[in-house]
């Protein structure tokens, strides 16, 4: 488990397994769980099968495809499998169980991470049938994947209709993310679509400058008195749902402040990452009093357009003071 966005946790972090069912109504069955050591990030996931009654209603199931080939002999078998969700959550109400939004009247827990869609563990729904009917080569494959253990749980890879046997050395990895994408993946049964949009840049020129400076660059371009505008937020923010970075540019007698923001939001099984760029341009001799360049925001040397955010300047945000350039 890693916490790259440094999400603050004011309640214990726990994990649990969630088995989704499809009938008579879509629902969840939560099984097992334990504490996660947020400091070390390592923990043991204990997997167990739900009751027979729940097992019969699991949805969606996958076709687990076992295949092996030796010389001219191909062996394959397709068995029903279900890939349980392993969910990391902040136990807001300290009741050591997962309370999902809209599923409980209790204060919902924060779902912060979930197992990967592609590489995860699957549960073979009828192991006895697999062992009874599969060719010995496939039985061998099964035991190779499970490390020689007789268990329903087997590493898998793939998504969609067919999944395949994965590597025996499988390890769960989790990245804490408070953008809501983890909960969307759970609620939408792994069926989350993601897309990114980048809005056209919004360029504000100081009213002393000619709007011809924008040239044919794509986006809005207007003049305004920068002195009278509120200072834009420029501090670097890096969280799973929101990121902001700013960089300064200069060319001849002009300076530009570019502020790039990205917001990630999920609604109805669609997660959209929207990026905006605000650029402020002023004459070096007439900078507004809130101008942060050289102080809160570094300069980046680049030959590209002054009204954009050069790619070579990415990553420099947050390095306060002075001029930085890559390369």
């Amino acid at each position: 488990m890693a916490n790259p966005y440094r999400i603050e946790l004011s309640h214990p972090l726990r994990y649990t397994t969630v088995w989704t069912t499809g009938s008579p109504l879509p629902g969840y069955s939560v099984l097992g769980g334990g504490a996660v050591n947020a400091r070390t990030g390592e923990f043991q996931v204990e997997l167990g099968l739900p009751s027979r009654e729940v097992s019969q209603r699991l949805a969606p199931t996958n076709d687990l495809y076992l295949y092996t080939q030796a010389a001219d002999i191909r062996s394959y078998e397709v068995v029903d499998a279900y890939r349980p969700r392993v969910v990391l959550y902040e136990d807001v109400n300290d009741n050591e169980q997962l309370d999902l939004p809209r599923a409980t009247s209790a204060a919902p827990d924060r779902v912060l991470a979930i197992d990967d869609d592609y590489y995860t563990m699957g549960a073979v729904l009828d192991v006895e049938a697999l062992l009874r009917e599969a060719a010995p080569a496939l039985v061998d494959l099964y035991y190779e994947a499970t490390g020689g253990r007789f268990t329903a749980f087997i590493p898998t890879r793939g998504t969609g209709d067919y999944v395949y046997v994965g590597e025996a050395s499988f390890t769960y990895t989790f990245l804490l993310d408070d953008s809501g994408i983890a909960f969307a993946s759970l609620e939408c049964l792994r069926n989350v679509s993601t897309r990114s949009t980048a809005l056209p840049p919004n360029v504000v020129l100081d009213d002393a400058l000619d709007t011809a400076l924008c040239g044919l660059d794509y986006g809005a371009c207007r003049s305004d008195e920068l002195d009278r505008l509120p200072a834009p937020a420029v501090s670097m923010v890096s969280s799973s749902g929101y990121q902001r970075q700013a960089v300064c540019r200069r060319r001849e007698d002009l300076e530009a402040l570019a502020v790039n923001e990205r917001r990630l939001g999920c609604e109805r099984c669609e997660c959209v990452s929207e990026s905006t760029l605000d650029v402020f341009v002023a004459a070096r001799e007439e900078l507004p009093p809130w101008w942060p360049c050289g102080d809160q925001v570094v300069y980046c040397e680049s030959e590209s357009s002054l009204t954009g955010y050069p790619s070579e300047c990415l990553g420099l945000a947050g390095l306060a003071g002075g001029t930085q350039s890559e390369g």
Binding site: I73, V127, R132, P136, A137, V139, G148, R149, F150
Partner: protein
């Protein structure tokens, strides 16, 4: 000077007389060299591809036994089979089978033996579409090398068609059709034999057996080297050096008189300590009376975990799958060695065959084998496995194999018959009889009609 082999072992001379066999049991009264067939059963004992003249001495009904120096025989059958409780018919369900034998002495003591097994397993495939001819050839050389203390020292060499091969009493290998070569020296109840089997139970195995017989075969010491070539069957690549599994065995076979007999075999091998296996068997056989023949028997088998010759999860396979396999008990080492790596196995088997003559023309027969198996996992962790036959290990299984019915023998004094029977023991096969299969018998209940003749 060479003369034909006449084996008169001390075992038979102690008994004092030769048991006359009913025509149903097509085995020679005189011993056949390296005879791997089960001699304590009423299941059909098919001809071996050697010493044909000796085998036919007790079968005067054969119409065409010799032509000059040549000896001929043929076992003929046609049959049809339908399902009672089975998903589908087995492979041999509308078939003919013509087992043709010819033998000729080349010189005194050296015989050439040719067997043509021709068959068509299924009329459903179309006219002659799946008909096959599977030839077997054996040269059999026997010679007195001289005398020691007035008793001949006899040598025998036979190959490559060994027919039904059994090592010891069948703990390791029992009634497996095989090719290879076997050589033997015998003298006054003592004998040493060396046998090489080219393919026993796996495509990449070889079995080399050396044995010492004493007291005319009442006791036997054996040394078996079961080689597997560590060929990765699934990745199609040679692995490291050939692996050998060495077995030391001791076997006894004691006739108790009045038709009773006890036999046993114990073998050990070194594999992470000493691994053992044992077979014990007691039989009662009565045949030859005017109307009733009975065999009943019990056998116990024990296979320690890791006793089998290979470590990989590769089940044994059979590459000669004809109805003749139905005359071999289901209790066979073939069924134990796949699971041997992980499980200790014990089994108890009751065998019963009854043939009763009703009047002049009808025979009632019941053949049954009740097989109780038990497998226990070895070590702290072990897998769950299913044998190809459907036995879940660890676990228990009780299974009954049977064939029961009636035969009409319309020709007085001749064995040719029309049989109708119900059975759950039908040989499983691929499209070709030599396709390797790991499950010997199809599941289900069948009824069959079969017409047989012996020429």
């Amino acid at each position: 000077m060479f003369r034909p082999l006449r084996v008169t072992s001390r075992f038979l001379s102690v008994l004092g007389c030769v048991v006359v066999l009913l025509p149903r049991e097509a085995a020679a009264a005189q011993s056949v060299f390296a005879d791997g067939r089960d001699s304590y059963t009423l299941l059909e004992r098919h001809l071996l591809n050697r010493q044909l003249a000796d085998q036919l001495e007790e079968q005067p009904y054969r119409l065409w036994r010799s032509a000059g120096r040549l000896t001929f025989a043929s076992d003929l059958a046609i049959g049809t089979q339908q399902t009672l409780h089975a998903a589908q018919q087995s492979r041999f369900h509308g078939y003919f089978l013509a087992d043709l034998f010819a033998a000729a002495p080349i010189v005194d003591g050296l015989d050439a033996n040719l067997n043509l097994l021709t068959f068509n397993p299924s009329a459903s495939d179309g006219y002659r579409v799946s008909a096959e001819v599977r030839p077997g050839f054996a040269l059999h050389w026997t010679q007195d090398l001289g005398e020691v203390d007035g008793v001949p020292l006899v040598a025998n060499v036979l190959g490559p068609d060994l027919g039904w091969v059994t090592l010891g009493k069948g703990l390791l290998l029992e009634q497996i059709p095989a090719e290879g070569v076997t050589g033997d020296l015998s003298w006054q109840g003592l004998g040493v034999r060396n046998t090489y089997v080219g393919r026993a139970l796996w495509p990449d195995d070889d079995v080399i057996s050396s044995s010492l017989r004493v007291f005319g075969g009442l006791a036997e010491l054996g040394l078996v080297n079961w080689k597997t070539h560590r060929y990765d069957l699934y990745d199609d690549r040679e692995m490291e050096a050939t692996r050998s599994a060495w077995y030391l065995s001791a076997a006894v076979d004691l006739p108790l008189g009045r038709g009773f007999r006890v036999a046993g075999e114990y073998a050990v091998r070194r594999r992470q300590g000493t691994r053992g296996g044992a077979l014990g068997r007691i039989d009662y056989l009565h045949r030859g009376s005017s109307w009733l023949s009975v065999h009943t028997g019990y056998q116990l088998r024990w296979y320690d975990a890791r006793f089998g010759p290979r470590r990989e999860l590769v089940p044994p396979s059979s590459v000669f799958n004809t109805p003749y396999q139905e005359d071999v008990y289901a209790t066979n080492s073939f069924e134990y060695l796949y699971l041997s790596e992980w499980f200790e196995q014990i089994s108890h088997t009751l065998m019963l065959e009854v043939h009763a003559r009703l009047g002049s023309y009808l025979d009632l027969f019941v053949e049954a084998e009740e097989w109780a198996r038990h497998a226990t996992g070895h070590g702290a962790e072990y897998p769950v496995l299913y044998s190809p036959e459907g036995f879940r290990a660890p676990g228990n299984l009780l299974r009954l194999y049977y064939r029961t019915g009636v035969s009409l023998l319309p020709f007085t004094g001749l064995p040719h018959r029309l049989s109708a029977f119900v059975t759950n023991k039908q040989v499983r096969g691929g499209y070709y009889a030599t396709e390797p299969i790991s499950r010997r018998f199809d599941s289900g209940t069948f009824w069959a009609l079969q017409l047989e003749a012996w020429l």
